[in-house]
């Protein structure tokens, strides 16, 4: 897999710091699962975070010693904590996506125009979904009032900003208006996260938007 479109350092840093909404963190973790360059970048950001932690002025409490003794006393008897690693990848879906799917294959729902989706999670801070776009199909032109991250898992798509193949991630900032078109040959399956509703330009998708919940 040759990855040409990576995550910007600021998003990897925010992921390391734990400040990304879960929708974006899912896309970041999925991309890093596929991309050694961004995996190294994450290790470097965590390295820096560790140096910041080391150099923080410590905050001592009178109960520190009691806390330490209590922990030392239960080191051997404590139940074994589970690993934090995600479940194993399934086909084109890296572990973080399998986790968001709950370990089962996607349950696609029709969106119109041959496009299908499954919303994996949504809350007040954003949503993350899988999209299945038939070859050559265009997603209606839209712009963003926030940030949209799109990770290609299979097939490809292109828009005015470039061509995105498997493993590539597109970062669409506020203001970018684009109309992505799936590449020829195979359907484009991607993982997309947004923090605000998209703004569609053509009238019909705008009317459908409440139904599509994009």
């Amino acid at each position: 897999m040759t990855i040409r479109h990576h995550l910007p350092a600021r998003l990897i840093r925010a992921y390391a710091a734990g400040s990304l909404p879960k929708s974006f963190a899912t896309v970041v973790a999925a991309h890093i699962s596929l991309c050694d360059e961004c995996r190294a970048q994450l290790a470097a950001e965590e390295f820096a975070a560790g140096a910041v932690l080391d150099s923080l002025p410590p905050l001592y409490e009178p109960g520190d010693e009691r806390l330490r003794e209590a922990l030392l006393a239960r080191l051997d008897g404590a139940p074994h904590l589970p690993d934090e690693a995600p479940p194993a990848p399934m086909g084109i879906f890296p572990g973080p996506v399998v986790q968001a799917l709950g370990g089962r294959p996607p349950r696609w729902r029709r969106l119109g125009g041959g496009i299908r989706q499954e919303i994996l999670a949504r809350d007040a801070r954003g949503s993350v979904r899988l999209l299945h776009i038939p070859p050559g199909t265009a997603v209606p032109e839209h712009s963003h009032s926030g940030l949209e991250l799109t990770l290609v898992l299979a097939g490809s798509f292109g828009d005015a900003t470039g061509h995105y193949g498997a493993g590539d991630v597109e970062v669409a900032d506020e203001g970018l208006a684009h109309a992505p078109v799936a590449g020829p040959g195979a359907p484009c399956i991607c993982l997309a996260a947004t923090d605000a509703p998209l703004r569609f330009r053509p009238l019909i998708p705008r009317l459908l938007q409440p139904l599509m919940r994009i």
Binding site: K22, F47, A49, L53, L56
Partner: protein, 190 residues
Amino acid sequence: MPSGDEPHAGLDEQTRWLLAVRDRRDRQAFARLFDFYGPRLRAMLARLGCTGAAVDDVIQDALLRVWQKAGQFDPAQASASAWIFRIARNRYIDIVRRDTRPMPDALAVEPPPEPDPGEVLALQAEGARLRAALAELPKEQRRMVEMAYLGELSHREIAEETGLPLGTVKSRIRLALERLRYHLKEHKPP
């Protein structure tokens, strides 16, 4: 103190303690890790507005995990502080936010290969230089770096790229990145 430090010469104290826990289940070294990181984790949590019983829960849970998972620590891939930071960050999200942070797939190398001592020392040296660069930052810039790494930035501030580490700090992180990138390439499973 871990004795017979010869094989770990040149490593910072925290990394030596963690290796003593990993290799010898050394409880005294673990107590030192607790004494060092407990109050620093509390300082980090205070920045996030986290106080009260939850703080003790995060610290205890994180350090217990350090004890149980020390076998996974590879000093060529992470400093002790980076490794403990990641654990504590996830414990905070789990306990305080009652959520889980999605984690990337692990690399398929288990157990990690015995690291090249040269690589370990090189990463350690970068850590020392990074801490020195942090210490020299003007107060306001240091505050921005802390906000970026300790999870204090709002979504808006992330989008606007506030809190970017500046100057020497940024170049030190880039040098660490080169080391880590090289290590990943060398140890990538076929």
